[in-house]
């Protein structure tokens, strides 16, 4: 075997790369299908919960009424008497409701709503409009999505790298002052991000007046793209710090402990005995094998912070999904509430999938093809 490999290095390497690629591809595909199935079930459950009180049915009915009322107010129907127009309206609504199967059993109806939800056909809002003036729930939500992704993405990436690096550093000198400090501070993660947000606003915006209270840009926003970006960044400092602080110490603590457990493994001792530099030991002997677990933990953390971000956005008036949900609650705009929930289910599904994909890239078992 060994001889063969040496004699045909080039060929074996290419098949190796190929098969690695294939394996990662296959793994990804399987995960994609599973995650998609999971999201479908999740969305179905969401619809079921919403429709137990008939709210999705109501959204559909409002939609139909809206459409026909609009149609009958066009000039083509102007010559009709008011009464005749009204009977025509009621008749066509009844017909359309029958056509769309609003008189069918709940299970069938829910299945139809599921297809609608999966294709992002989320109906029309009752009161809210998007910035472009549309009442389509899909547009209202999609317009808000970038703001949420920007805030969440920035803070979560920062959180991940900061806590892994700090945890590695601390695990090297455990028992030191900073180590004890982090242990003492780790209970602070019991409080959600919005809670820190209130304190940050109080301190930095209300008392020191150095950072804005909330929002995403000044009003009016600066025209110059560079100024605009800087302005957004300035507005993002407080909400992002709130999101980071609320889970920073706990995740440093958890991963530090985890690294400590791993750094007492035999192969690490062996590497130390060989006299390898500390950086190499950290990178190749501690971080590498723990990375898959770290990513799984991070996925769980990310999922739990999505909920916290809803209120953080509200507190900071950040024009994202969470604030839309908050406004929808205030206006009792049921289609938007259901729609936002569905989009959140999607976002969570995508997060799980992305992390699974990264997991496949870093976990040697997937690459090598072991189980």
């Amino acid at each position: 075997m060994a001889v063969e490999t040496q004699s045909a290095t080039g060929g074996v390497k290419s098949t190796l790369v190929n098969s690695t690629f294939l394996r990662v591809g296959r793994y990804t595909l399987v995960r994609l299908v599973t995650v998609f199935a999971t999201v479908v079930v999740g969305v179905y459950l969401t619809i079921m919960i919403a429709n137990m009180g008939g709210y999705v049915d109501q959204i559909m009915k409002n939609d139909i009424r809206d459409r026909f009322t609009q149609m009958l107010s066009t000039p083509a129907y102007r010559n009709m008497s008011a009464d005749a127009r009204k009977t025509l309206l009621e008749k066509s609504i009844a017909l359309e409701e029958k056509r769309l199967g609003l008189d069918t059993p709940v299970a069938v109806r829910n299945a139809r709503y599921l297809v609608n939800a999966l294709t992002l056909n989320l109906g029309r809002a009752l009161n809210m409009t998007s910035d472009s003036g549309s009442k389509e729930v899909r547009l209202i939500i999609l317009e808000r999505l970038p703001a949420t992704l920007l805030l969440m993405g920035t803070s979560e990436l920062f959180l991940f790298f900061a806590s892994v690096l700090l945890a590695l550093t601390l695990s090297r000198r455990y028992g030191s002052f900073w180590d004890k400090m982090v242990i003492t501070l780790s209970p602070t993660s019991a409080a959600p991000p919005w809670f820190y947000g209130i304190f940050f606003i109080l301190f930095f915006a209300a008392i020191l007046k150095i950072l804005p209270f909330g929002g995403m840009t000044d009003s009016p926003p600066p025209d110059n793209p560079i100024d605009f970006a800087l302005n957004v960044m300035k507005h993002m400092i407080l909400p992002a710090s709130a999101l980071i602080i609320s889970s920073l110490f706990l995740s440093i603590y958890n991963w530090r402990t985890f690294f400590l457990i791993y750094s007492s493994e035999d192969y690490v001792e062996m590497a130390k005995a060989k006299g390898l530099p500390a950086r190499d030991i950290e990178r190749r002997y501690i971080l590498r094998p723990t990375l898959p677990t770290i990513i799984t933990n991070f996925a769980l953390l990310l999922i739990s912070t999505v909920s916290g971000a809803i209120i953080t956005e509200t507190v900071f008036l950040w024009p994202g999904l969470g604030r839309t949900l908050y406004r929808a609650i205030g206006l009792y705009d049921t289609p938007v509430i259901v729609g936002t929930t569905i989009i959140y289910a999607y976002l969570l599904g995508i997060t799980v999938f992305l992390l699974d994909f990264i997991y496949a890239l870093v976990d040697p078992r997937v690459k090598v093809g072991g189980n």
């Binding site: 459950l45 019991a190 409080a191 809670f195 209130i198 209300a206 507190v315 609650i329 509430i337």
Partner: protein, 445 residues
């Protein structure tokens, strides 16, 4: 029992465990005191009372103790009335069934700001002829200001700052300022002020009672909100509610999670598979927005939300870690022995598998309490708090909707936030220490 005693001894070695336990103990004492002192129905009635219950308090007033920390002393609110003797009343009978009633109140005003408002509430008894009162204001520098002369009906309120005649007499100046300052220098005059009310009744059996309400800038131990409510009430009542919600949710979640994990691992096969799939689906369910949906569509009652919270929290990551431990326990000798003597599945799960997990459960139980306490607050901040109960989250929500941070009513947010934080940290600190005690692997680290 011996293990428990050992664990307890070990706990004393951790300062954070001691601090955490003390905080929790204090909270429990406050909660019990509150529930006994202000029973549920009284608390609800007070909380939803409105103007009739709380007319004596100023709006948006910080707590009185902030005067200790500030060089500018703000006037403290008070209320005195003739019916309980706090306001002095002397009745002098006159001829033909008439009588003169002298009511006077002297108070020391040593503050650097004006009060929000002063009010006089009259309640009188008469058959036909209305009693008549004259109100006079005496300042420390010897000025005498006539406030008003009026006939009073059975129930009458006199608001100093909106009294037309007083405004005319003061040439349109704000009475709250004009009554307390030197007319020339416009500086606040400190010293003893006196309010004199001279009433005359014209019938036998006719009587006048008065209540003098002074709305200062600060009030009581905790301050007031936009509806003049004393914040002591929700701050106190928040404690039993937070504790009950946190403990019930965390206990319910953990016990159910454990039972389901135990059943899954014991039976294995499709049961186990099903539980794992449910866990995966639950992972993508957006927890908070589902709670929001339930809150808006069905019920905002704290107990419904509690039930849904528990249901959604069962199938989370912790079910996986329990499963891993149960898988180990399942293979141990004593389970095999139990199986050999013919114990039923039910008996093995509930008598042998689950009891093994209880020590592991305790740290988790304690450290998951804060997240549920904060969850209640989070929902309240979203405007989905229980509509009836006074809770800490509700105060923050009220403060937030009234722009407390922008207008500078910091006390309004800081008080409930501090209590939430103390509660959260108390449980989290104890939980961390317990985790180290019950998980020996962490002990050395």
């Amino acid at each position: 029992m011996a293990t428990l005693r050992n664990s307890f001894k070990e706990m004393l070695r951790y300062p954070s465990a001691i601090i955490g336990s003390v905080i929790i103990l204090l909270l429990v004492i406050v909660a019990i005191y509150t529930v006994i002192k202000i029973p549920y129905n009284t608390a609800i009635n007070l909380w939803r009372g409105g103007e009739e219950v709380w007319y004596q308090n100023p709006k948006f007033a910080p707590p009185a103790w902030i005067n200790f920390f500030s060089s500018k002393k703000l006037p403290v609110s008070f209320a005195v009335r003739t019916t309980d003797g706090t306001l002095n009343k002397i009745v002098t009978p006159g001829a033909q069934g008439t009588s003169t009633i002298d009511i006077s109140y002297t108070f020391d005003f040593q503050y650097d700001d004006y009060p929000q408002e002063m009010l006089l509430y009259f309640t009188t008894q008469y058959a036909q002829k209305q009693p008549f009162v004259s109100i006079v204001w005496l300042t420390p520098d010897g000025r005498k200001i006539r406030v008003d002369d009026l006939g009073v009906s059975q129930k009458q309120t006199l608001r100093f700052s909106q009294d037309e005649r007083l405004l005319q007499r003061l040439n349109g100046a704000n009475p709250m300022q004009a009554l307390f300052e030197d007319p020339k220098t416009h500086a606040i005059v400190k010293g003893k002020y006196q309010l004199q009310i001279t009433g005359t009744t014209f019938e036998p059996g006719s009587d006048i009672n008065a209540e003098f309400v002074f709305h200062g800038q600060v009030f009581g131990l905790a301050g007031t909100d936009q509806e003049r409510r004393d914040l002591v009430l929700p701050l106190l009542w928040g404690a039993p509610i937070a504790l009950a919600f946190g403990l019930v949710a965390s206990l319910g979640t953990l016990v159910l999670t454990m039972i389901i994990a135990a059943i899954g691992t014991w039976y294995g096969g499709w049961v186990d598979e099903l539980i794992q799939r449910i866990t995966e689906v639950n992972l993508v369910l957006p927890f908070l927005s589902i709670l929001v949906m339930v809150g808006t569509f069905y019920s905002r009652s704290l107990w419904v939300i509690l039930g849904v919270t528990v249901l959604l929290s069962i199938f989370t990551g912790s079910i996986k870690s329990y499963r891993a431990i149960f898988l180990q326990v399942k293979e141990s000798m004593y389970i095999e022995a139990a199986r050999a003597y013919g114990a039923s599945n039910f008996r093995i799960i509930f008598m042998y598998l689950i009891p093994r997990m209880i020590p592991l459960l305790i740290p988790g139980l304690v450290s998951s309490v804060p997240s549920f306490v904060f969850l209640e607050a989070s929902l309240a901040v979203l405007g989905l708090g229980d509509p009836v109960l006074p809770t800490w989250g509700k105060i923050i929500n009220d403060a937030d909707t009234n722009g407390a941070l922008y207008k500078g009513y910091y006390y309004w947010i800081m008080e409930p936030a501090a209590l939430l934080m103390i509660t959260g940290f108390g449980f989290a600190m104890l939980g961390f220490a317990l985790d180290r005690i019950f998980n020996p692997r962490l002990r050395d680290m």
